[in-house]
C-alpha cells in the first residue's frame, strides 16, 4: 500500500520536473545506445551495422521514450495540464470573454455565498449544542404579544431539577436589577443568578478570567461575578485589568472573576449583563419572591409530550399558598421548544425570500454564462471545424470545452469568495438585526467555502452540459462548407440564446417587482402616524437603592430630578413616566361593569408628559399636578373610551382600579406603539403621586432641543448623580432609534432585495446587450447591403431596437406572470401593500423597458452607422 502511495506521489512529482527528467533520460538512452554499439563493434560488426543493430534491439528510441513517459507520469494529468494551458492561452487571447464570464459568475456566486452564509449563521445553524432538545418552562399569558411568559418559580422548578427523569441539564436564571458601584461611578444593571450548568448549556466561553467553579456554588452567598462582553466594554471601557476588581452590587461586594466572550449570545429571555452563582431555595410562604427563567435540555430520545407529562406532575405548584395556586390554576407551567419561544433564530419568510431571490440571481448569472459560451462557440466555430477536420476527435473537443468551463467557473468561484468576504459581515449584521450582532465580527467559515465551491461546480456542470450539448448536436463539418466566414450565425443557436436572455430578463423582472412591493411597504410603514413624535426624545432609567424604592421617597426623588433637569441646557422638557412609549409597557386586565375583561395599558405619569409626548387632550381637563381630593383621577385614550364606554360620554364616569374608584377627567389621543397592529392599545394615565406601589426604578422621558450627543448625555448623568448619588443611571435609549428598529426587519429585507435585484438587473441587461451586440456584429454585412441599397440609417437603427424590444418584451411579459405567481409568498412581509399594487407593476415595467432600450442602443447605433463600402471591400 505504501509502495502504491509512494508511486503516485512520485508520478505527481515527476510532472513538475518533466523537462529535467526528459533530458536525463535522453542521456541515459544515449549511454545505452553507445554501449550497445561498442559491444557490437567488438563482436565484429562495422559501424553502420552496429548502430542499426543497437537501435533494433532497443526497439526504437521514440517508442522507448513513449513507454518510459507512460510509466513515469499520469498520462491523463499531463493531458489535463495541457488542456488547462490551452484554455489559459485562449483566455489570454480573448481576455474580454474571460473577464465577462468570470465577472458575471463571480457576482452570482459571491452574492449567493454571502447571503447563504448570512442566513446560515443566523438561522440554519444550531446556536447552542443540542439546540433541538432545548425547551423553556413557562405558562400561557393571554394578552401579551406572544401569549406566553417564560416565568417560573423555584417551588415549581426544584422538584424537576432534583428528580426529573426527562431532563439532561438545566439553564436556570434568576433575574434582578439594581445599582452597581465601582467606587467612582454608579450605574443600573440587569443581573442574574445562574446555575452551574447555565454556561455549558448556552455554550458560554470566557474572553478573560474564568467562569464559575463548583465551589462558587457551595457557599451560601457567593461573591463572584462574570460580565458580559458588551457590558464590560460599555462600563469598564474594555479594561483587561478588570479581573479581580471589586464592585458593590445591591449592597454586597462582589469580585469580578471573568468576562464572557463576544460570541456568547444567549436567547433574548436571558438578557442580563452580569452573572453570579445561584443557589436555588424556595420559601413556601413567599413563593413569588424569586422569579426564574428556566431552560431545560431534554434527555436524548425524550419527546416534548413525555417531558410535559412528567413536568405536569412534578412541577405543578404543590402546597403553595392560595395566591400561587390561583395564578397557575388556569395556566399551568409547561415546556415549549426554545425554537418556538425565541423567534429571532427561526427560519422565516424573510430568509426564504432572500434565498429564493439569490437563487434567481444565481440562475441569471448561469444563464449569462451559457450565453457567453454560446457567443464564444459561434466565434470559434471555424477553429473547431478545422480541428475536427484535422482529425481531432469530438471527445477531445468536448474535453476542451468542459475544461474551459470548469476553469472559468472555479476562477469565478474564487473571485466570488473574495466578494462574499467583503460583503458578508455586513449582511450577517443586517440579518441578525441587533446591536449585539453589529458589534460581533463574523468570519467566512468552512461551510461558506464549501457552499461557494459547490455552486461553482454546479454552474460549471450546467454550463458545460449546455455547451457540450450544443457542440454534439451541431454539424461542425457543415461549418467548413459554409465557407469559413461567419456570415450569419446559425439560426438555432441564435434562437436559444434569445430565449435564454428573455428568461433572465423575466427573472430580473420578478425580483424587481418584489423589491418594488417591499419599497412601497416600507414607505407606508415610515409614514404611519404614531400620534407621537419620537424625534429628539430619550428615555432614561434610573435604578434606585432599596431605601428609596417605596412610593413616598421615590416621588420625592423624581420631583427633584424633574426640577433639576427642567431648565438644563439642551433639555426642552422632562417628565416622569413609568413606561416610555416604544420602550416597554405595563398592562393589566380590567373587569368592566358588565363582567367582561379588557386588556389595557396603564401609566403613572407626571403632568408634563402630555406635552413631552405630543399627545392631544381631546376632551375634559389635564391631570392635576397636586392631589386635589380623596378619590383618584385618570385620563383615558380614545381607544379605551370607545372600548369601555362605547358611545357614552366618559368624562365624569368612574372606573374601578384595584379596589378604588377613579374618575375619568379627560380623553387623550391614541399613541400607536406597535406599528403593525391595526388598533392602538387602550391605555389609561394617572398622576404619578397616585401610584402607591413600590418600584426600584424611575424612568424619565427627556425632550431635547438638540440632537442627543455623548457630551450632553454625560452631563445629564452627572446632574442626576448630583441630585441623588445613590441612583444608578442606565444607558439612555433614543426613541427615534427605537421607532426605526421596529421596522428594521422590513428595512433590511428591502436593502438586501435591492442589492440582489440591482445585480440581477445589471446581469440581465448585460446579457441582452451581449446577445444584441453579437447578432449585430454578425449581421454587419446584411446591414451594409441594406444601407447600400438605400435604406435610411434610421430604419436600420429602429429595426435593431425593435428586435431588442421584442426580446425584452417577451421577458417582461413572462416576468409579469412570474411576479403575479410568486410575490404572493411575500404577502406576509408586506404592510398594507397589495401584491398586485398597480403602481409598482407600472414602474417596474417602465424601468425594464428603459433598461432594454439602453441595452439595445449601442448595438443599434453600430448597425446604423456601418459604412457599406468599407464592409464590402473586405469581402
Amino acid at each position: 500500500m505504501n509502495g502504491r502511495l509512494h508511486e503516485i506521489w512520485k508520478r505527481i512529482l515527476s510532472l513538475s520536473h518533466k523537462l529535467t527528467l526528459d533530458s536525463e533520460f535522453n542521456e541515459e538512452l544515449a549511454t545505452h545506445i553507445e554501449s550497445a554499439i561498442e559491444d557490437n563493434i567488438r563482436a565484429g560488426m562495422n559501424a553502420e551495422e552496429a548502430r542499426r543493430n543497437a537501435l533494433i534491439k532497443l526497439g526504437g528510441t521514440d517508442q522507448t521514450f513513449e513507454a518510459y513517459r507512460d510509466a513515469r507520469g499520469f498520462r491523463w494529468l499531463v493531458s489535463l495540464l495541457g488542456d488547462i494551458r490551452y484554455v489559459l492561452r485562449t483566455f489570454r487571447k480573448s481576455p474580454g470573454f474571460a473577464l465577462a464570464f468570470i465577472g458575471t459568475l463571480a457576482l452570482g456566486i459571491g452574492t449567493a455565498t454571502a447571503i447563504f452564509s448570512a442566513v446560515d449563521q443566523t438561522v440554519l445553524r444550531k446556536p447552542f449544542p443540542h439546540y433541538e432538545r432545548l425547551t423553556v418552562f413557562g405558562s400561557d399569558f393571554p394578552g401579551s404579544r406572544s401569549g406566553f411568559t417564560s416565568n417560573s418559580y423555584p417551588i415549581q422548578i426544584m422538584p424537576c431539577v432534583e428528580s426529573g427523569k426527562s431532563f439532561d441539564a438545566f439553564a436556570i436564571n434568576a433575574w434582578g436589577r439594581g445599582t452597581m458601584s465601582t467606587g467612582s461611578e454608579t450605574f443600573g444593571v440587569d443581573f442574574a443568578g445562574v446555575n452551574q450548568d447555565f454556561f455549558s448549556v448556552l455554550n458560554g466561553k470566557t474572553a478573560l478570567g474564568r467562569l464559575f467553579r463548583p465551589e462558587d456554588f457551595a457557599q451560601a452567598s457567593s461573591s463572584v461575578i462574570v460580565l458580559k462582553h458588551q457590558f464590560w466594554k460599555d462600563y469598564f471601557g474594555g479594561d483587561r485589568n478588570v479581573i479581580g476588581r471589586s464592585v458593590v452590587l445591591e449592597n454586597h461586594t462582589y469580585q469580578i472573576v471573568g468576562v464572557l466572550s463576544e460570541e456568547f449570545s444567549p436567547p433574548t429571555m436571558f438578557w442580563s449583563s452580569v452573572f453570579m452563582p445561584l443557589v436555588l431555595t424556595s420559601d413556601p410562604s413567599n413563593p413569588f419572591a424569586q422569579a426564574l427563567t428556566v431552560m431545560a435540555r431534554l434527555r436524548q430520545g425524550v419527546t416534548l409530550v413525555q417531558a410535559n407529562a412528567e413536568a405536569s406532575i412534578l412541577c405543578a405548584a404543590p402546597d403553595a399558598n392560595p395566591r400561587f395556586k390561583a395564578r397557575f390554576k388556569n395556566s399551568p407551567l409547561y415546556l415549549k421548544w426554545l425554537s418556538d419561544v425565541d423567534p429571532s433564530r427561526r427560519f422565516s419568510r424573510i430568509h426564504a425570500a432572500f434565498l429564493s431571490a439569490v437563487g434567481f440571481l444565481f440562475a441569471i448569472a448561469v444563464i449569462n454564462g451559457i450565453n457567453l459560451m454560446f457567443v464564444r462557440r459561434s466565434e470559434r466555430k471555424r477553429e473547431l471545424g478545422i480541428r475536427l477536420a484535422l482529425g481531432s476527435s469530438r471527445g477531445t473537443l468536448m474535453r476542451l470545452i468542459v475544461t474551459e468551463s470548469f476553469a472559468l467557473n472555479l476562477l469565478a468561484g474564487l473571485l466570488g469568495l473574495i466578494l462574499a468576504w467583503t460583503i458578508k459581515p455586513f449582511l450577517v449584521n443586517l440579518l441578525m438585526m441587533s446591536k449585539e450582532a453589529l458589534d460581533r465580527g463574523v468570519s467566512l467559515d468552512s461551510r461558506a467555502l464549501l457552499f461557494a465551491f459547490g455552486i461553482s461546480l454546479l454552474s460549471a456542470l450546467i454550463i458545460s452540459a449546455a455547451s457540450v450539448w450544443k457542440v454534439s448536436t451541431e454539424d461542425l463539418q457543415s461549418i467548413l462548407r459554409e465557407g469559413g466566414i461567419t456570415t450569419s450565425e446559425g439560426r438555432k443557436l441564435q434562437r436559444s440564446r434569445e430565449s435564454l436572455v428573455a428568461i433572465s430578463a423575466a427573472m430580473a423582472m420578478v425580483l424587481l417587482t418584489g423589491t418594488g412591493l417591499m419599497t412601497r411597504s416600507v414607505q407606508k410603514l415610515m409614514s404611519v402616524d404614531r400620534g407621537f413624535d419620537p424625534s429628539r426624545k430619550i428615555a432614561l432609567w434610573i435604578d434606585l437603592p432599596r431605601a428609596l424604592q417605596s412610593a413616598e421617597p421615590r416621588h420625592a426623588v423624581a420631583q427633584r430630578l424633574e426640577e433639576r433637569l427642567q431648565n438644563f441646557p439642551g433639555v426642552q422638557n422632562v417628565c416622569t413616566t413609568a413606561t416610555v412609549p416604544l420602550a416597554g409597557s405595563t398592562t393589566v386586565n380590567l373587569t368592566k361593569p358588565d363582567g367582561s375583561t379588557l386588556f389595557v395599558g396603564f401609566n403613572p405619569v407626571s403632568p408634563a408628559c402630555f406635552r413631552s409626548m405630543g399627545m392631544k387632550l381631546l376632551k375634559g381637563r389635564e391631570l392635576p399636578s397636586r392631589p386635589e381630593g380623596v378619590s383618584g383621577v385618570m385620563l383615558i385614550n380614545t381607544s379605551m373610551a370607545s372600548k369601555w364606554f362605547g358611545t357614552e360620554e366618559p368624562i365624569g364616569k368612574s372606573i374601578r382600579i384595584s379596589g378604588q374608584s377613579w374618575e375619568v377627567i379627560g380623553v387623550v389621543s391614541d399613541i400607536r406603539e406597535e406599528i403593525r397592529s391595526k388598533d392602538p392599545r387602550p391605555q389609561y394615565y394617572f398622576p404619578d403621586w397616585q401610584d402607591s406601589r413600590r418600584s426600584d426604578v424611575i424612568s424619565l422621558m427627556l425632550d431635547l432641543s438638540v440632537k442627543p450627543s455623548a457630551a450632553l448625555i454625560q452631563s445629564i448623568r452627572r446632574a442626576i448623580h448630583d441630585v441623588e448619588p445613590q441612583a444608578g443611571v442606565r444607558q439612555p435609549v433614543e426613541l427615534e432609534e427605537k421607532a426605526r428598529t421596529q421596522i428594521n426587519s422590513e428595512r433590511f429585507t428591502l436593502f438586501v432585495l435591492e442589492l440582489i435585484s440591482a445585480i440581477s438587473m445589471l446581469l440581465a441587461i448585460l446579457g441582452l446587450f451581449s446577445v444584441m451586440a453579437c447578432s449585430v456584429s454578425q449581421r454587419m454585412k446584411d446591414f451594409g447591403i441594406r444601407l447600400a441599397l438605400g435604406a435610411p440609417a434610421r430604419q436600420v437603427f429602429i429595426s435593431v431596437l425593435r428586435r431588442g424590444l421584442v426580446l425584452g418584451g417577451f421577458g417582461i411579459v413572462i416576468g409579469l406572470f412570474g411576479a403575479w405567481a410568486l410575490t404572493r409568498y411575500i404577502k406576509t412581509l408586506l404592510y398594507e401593500t397589495s401584491t398586485l399594487d398597480p403602481m409598482v407593476y407600472t414602474a417596474t415595467v417602465l424601468l425594464m423597458l428603459l433598461a432594454v432600450c439602453f441595452a439595445c442602443w449601442l448595438p443599434a447605433r453600430k448597425a446604423a452607422s456601418v459604412d457599406p463600402s468599407s464592409l464590402l471591400k473586405t469581402e
Binding site: E28, H32, S35, R72
Partner: protein, 116 residues
C-alpha cells in the same frame, strides 16, 4: 540463430530486473538488459527499451534506487541497485512465481495429448 525465442510474459520483466540487480549489485540499464539476455542464453526476446519503463516503475515503488555514475566506456550512466523493500518484494514474487509455475506445470502435464 535457429533457437526459438520466447516472448516475455506480462509482468515478468520486473521480476527479472529485480533478480538481476539482487545478484549483480549495481548496474546501468544496458548492463541489466545484457545480463538478462546472457543469463537466459539469449533465449528471451527482449525489447531493450522496455527495461526503462520497468526501471521507472520499480523506482517509483521504492524497490530499486538510482544514482548517476560513470560507465566502463567513461560515460555518464544511471546505476540502479535493489533496495531492502525490493529484496522483500523479490522474495515474495519468486515464491509466487514458483507456486504458479508448479500449478501450471501440473495442469499442463495432466492433460494428455495436449496441443504441442
Amino acid at each position: 540463430m535457429n533457437k526459438q525465442k520466447l516472448d516475455l510474459l506480462q509482468g515478468t520483466l520486473d521480476l527479472l530486473v529485480l533478480q538481476t540487480l539482487a545478484s549483480m549489485g549495481s548496474l546501468h540499464g544496458y548492463g541489466i538488459a545484457r545480463r538478462i539476455e546472457q543469463v537466459s542464453g539469449d533465449i528471451v526476446l527482449l525489447n531493450q527499451g522496455t527495461i526503462y519503463a520497468s526501471l521507472v516503475r520499480l523506482q517509483q515503488r521504492g524497490w530499486i534506487s538510482a544514482r548517476w555514475g560513470t560507465s566502463d566506456n567513461n560515460r555518464r550512466a544511471k546505476y540502479y541497485s535493489i533496495t531492502r523493500a525490493g529484496q522483500r518484494q523479490l522474495a515474495e514474487e519468486t515464491a509466487n512465481w514458483e507456486r504458479l509455475s508448479a500449478v501450471i506445470g501440473r495442469v499442463l502435464s495432466s492433460s494428455e495429448g495436449g496441443v504441442r
